[in-house]
């Protein structure tokens, strides 16, 4: 692994970091291929598969019909029989079209077979709102996947993690969903060349703080960082944790932080009711009940489908403002 070496880093947008992650995997794993709608000739509708067809050819970069059940079944069958498929599900919203293949086949086959099957399959999919793509192209449904024994689910918040987690997911011998965020595609940062892993199941402390722990998922990490800047002025020194992995979830890092800060806020883009924030909140109060000086706060989307109009979508998506407002309200600042 190139972790040993010190690979050169350059500014790279999230979208190209995804591209490099897939590219590294296809280079290092001869049994790996990527299949999905318009990933080959078009290079994916997001552009993160550009150049893959040229470098790896049509046997390993495969355009599929519009058949999510078939595509996900391809991932199940091919991974159980010796390949390491990367399956591209264009929008996370389409998971309803293949949820049986995901939930009843992919996640359960190993267990049902008494451990005799191994499914090294990675599913890349795109979640999140922000572009007025309305109710069927903007959802964050990670809570559904995290509720599935046998499945791993990660949400890289930046370019570095996107590349590193795609590589880690594809090296993992379990089904892994890598939930990307479409509003982050153009976000740039320093990304090393070559191959490196960001381990699955490990949260990352983006900022250390003394009296509030903010646990954020995916793109919300950046809103949490912005909010923490403004909270400073209110005398709140927030520690910001990028959960990075939803399943498995890194409870230890979160609990350790809260034992120090005594206050917690969980923020995700998904609808609050039934969102992953409930699970995290429950775990926090189970493990750090006596350390909490205030109820664990949740900031998430309100209980409605994602609206089309920018005027409504703007107020729908959680952001730094709503985080700050929530903290002020709960801590009566």
């Amino acid at each position: 692994m190139s972790e040993a070496a010190t690979p050169q880093a350059r500014e790279l947008p999230y979208v190209m970091a995804i591209n490099e992650g897939i590219r590294e995997v296809l280079r290092e794993q001869k049994d790996a291929f990527i299949a999905g709608e318009d990933v080959a000739v078009a290079g994916s509708v997001y552009g993160y598969c550009v150049g893959l067809l040229d470098e790896f050819g049509s046997d390993r970069v495969i355009d599929t019909p519009i058949s999510e059940k078939g595509i996900m079944g391809l991932g199940v069958g091919a991974s159980a029989t010796g390949c390491r498929p990367i399956i591209d599900l264009m929008f996370m919203d389409f998971i309803g079209e293949c949820m049986d293949e995901v939930a009843n086949q992919m996640a359960k086959m190993r267990f049902m077979f008494g451990g005799k099957a191994t499914l090294p399959v990675t599913v890349l999919t795109m979640g999140g709102a922000g572009g007025s793509l309305a109710a069927q192209h903007s959802q964050s449904l990670e809570a559904w996947l995290a509720h599935l024994p046998g499945m791993k689910v990660v949400m890289p918040s930046d370019a570095y993690d996107a590349k590193g987690m795609i590589i880690a997911a594809c090296r993992d011998d379990n089904p892994v969903f890598v939930v990307l965020n479409k509003a982050s595609l153009a976000m740039t940062m320093e990304v090393p060349e070559g191959s490196y892993q960001v381990p699955l199941g490990e949260a990352c402390i983006r900022r250390t703080g003394a009296n509030l722990t903010i646990v954020a998922f995916g793109r919300m990490v950046h809103e949490a960082m912005a909010a923490s800047d403004r909270l400073k002025d209110l005398g709140i020194d927030a520690e910001v944790i990028d959960a990075r992995s939803v399943q498995p979830f890194d409870t230890d890092t979160v609990i350790t932080s809260i034992r120090k800060t005594h206050r917690a806020l969980v923020v995700h883009e998904a609808v609050k009711f039934g969102g992953i924030g409930g699970e995290i909140t429950a775990q926090i109060q189970e493990e750090a009940f006596d350390y909490l000086d205030a109820p664990v706060m949740r900031v998430a989307a309100p209980f409605s489908p994602v609206p089309f109009s920018p005027a409504l979508e703007r107020v729908y998506i959680p952001n730094a403002d709503s985080i700050v407002a929530r903290v002020k309200e709960t801590l009566a600042l």
Partner: protein
């Protein structure tokens, strides 16, 4: 990895094609010989309405494309330009009590079903005066009063819903039908398979109109299915499969008329495939700027432009004069301008309305 050679079964497919194409041929021929004038041919009024529908769709879409490029329309916009003959030819047979389900490329269907420009542009602009109060946008634009069960952001999302609407019609023993529009790409979705089988099983008044424009996004038909004619799948459900020239509004009008009449009479569903083409990119106008189809191909189809060829025919038949035709275009242009002005001046929905319409509060 795409199958190049035709597999054995191709023969059968071919024969099926001949049979069905023959029908469409007949229709087209009849249309060419003495359409308007023929005793049983459509009246001048119908011929003029077909023309108006197509012009309204074309102008609406061309303007929507511009508005998008001017930053007036957020989100994804899938233009129907090129396929006008299909929506016009089918919708000419439908009343507001007949249901349709549409696709992500749905403006044309709604315009042909009677959609007004003002609330349509307002919806695309995300304004409170839109058909969906700005909550749906292009991919969910709809109007229940017009019998339009919505554009749909999910490919293959419409057919099961149309089948359900057709079930309603049969349940209520009325003579109304439901039409499901879907693309060649959508034909590979399991939802279309299940809906078609159920419609045939229950003999529902449901017409499955496949607008085969040769591509699903950037993937050519030959790269998403082996068959050439989606209509070949009809036999697998025990329903008639018909193919017609989707650039010839008369051919669509006649083929759709037969299918819809059969459905109203209790004859069950039909799979009607219309060979057509979209002029602009999959999404937006220039889209991603990929060249996945040859310019020659695009030009060749444009030569068969549904509106121009139809206007020529109307002039030959003397159904309309050049002046009349120009007047139609001028009037539609005025409608478009007024509608865009209306949309521009319309207010955005109030933030307080966000949580409205999630549930029907009168419920229970």
């Amino acid at each position: 990895m795409v199958a190049k050679k035709k597999p054995p079964a191709k023969k059968k497919a071919a024969s099926a094609r001949k049979k069905t194409v023959a029908r469409a041929g007949k229709a087209a021929a009849k249309a060419k010989k003495a359409p308007a004038r023929a005793a049983r041919g459509p009246s001048d009024k119908v011929l003029q309405e077909l023309h108006l529908k197509m012009v309204r769709i074309r102008r609406f879409e061309e303007s929507a494309g511009k508005m998008m490029e001017d930053g007036k329309i957020p989100g994804a916009l899938h233009l129907y330009v090129g396929q006008e003959a299909v929506a016009a030819g089918v919708m000419q047979h439908l009343s507001n009590q007949d249901w349709i389900t549409s696709t992500h490329r749905g403006h044309g269907h709604l315009v042909a079903k009677g959609g007004e420009f003002k609330p349509m542009f307002a919806e695309l602009f995300g304004r409170a005066t839109g058909y969906c109060k700005g909550k749906g946008g292009s991919m969910h634009i709809s109007n229940m009063d017009l019998g339009m069960l919505g554009a749909n952001g999910i490919v293959g999302g419409g057919p099961p819903i149309a089948m359900g609407a057709a079930f309603s019609n049969k349940f209520k023993k009325n003579k109304h039908v439901a039409v499901a529009f879907f693309g060649d790409g959508a034909s590979n979705e399991g939802s279309v398979h299940e809906a078609a089988n159920m419609a045939a099983l229950y003999k529902l008044p449901c017409i499955f109109v496949c607008e085969n424009n040769g591509y699903g996004e950037y993937t050519a038909q030959a790269r998403h299915q082996v068959i050439i004619d989606v209509a070949d799948r009809a036999a697998g459900y025990g329903m008639p499969g018909v193919i017609c020239d989707g650039m010839d509004v008369m051919a669509v009008y006649e083929a759709a008329g037969e299918a819809i009449e059969r459905a109203r009479k209790g004859g069950g569903p039909t799979l009607l495939e219309c060979k057509t083409y979209r002029y602009y990119d999959h999404v937006g106008v220039r889209g991603m700027g990929l060249n996945y189809r040859a310019d020659e191909e695009v030009e060749a189809w444009k030569k068969k432009d549904a509106i121009q060829s139809y206007e020529k025919r109307l002039l030959q038949l003397g159904v309309m004069t050049r002046r009349k035709v120009n007047a139609v275009h001028a009037a539609v242009n005025r409608d478009v301008e007024e509608a865009i002005a209306f949309a521009n001046e319309s207010p955005y929905p109030e933030p307080e309305t966000l949580l409205d319409n999630v549930y029907n509060e009168q419920g229970a």
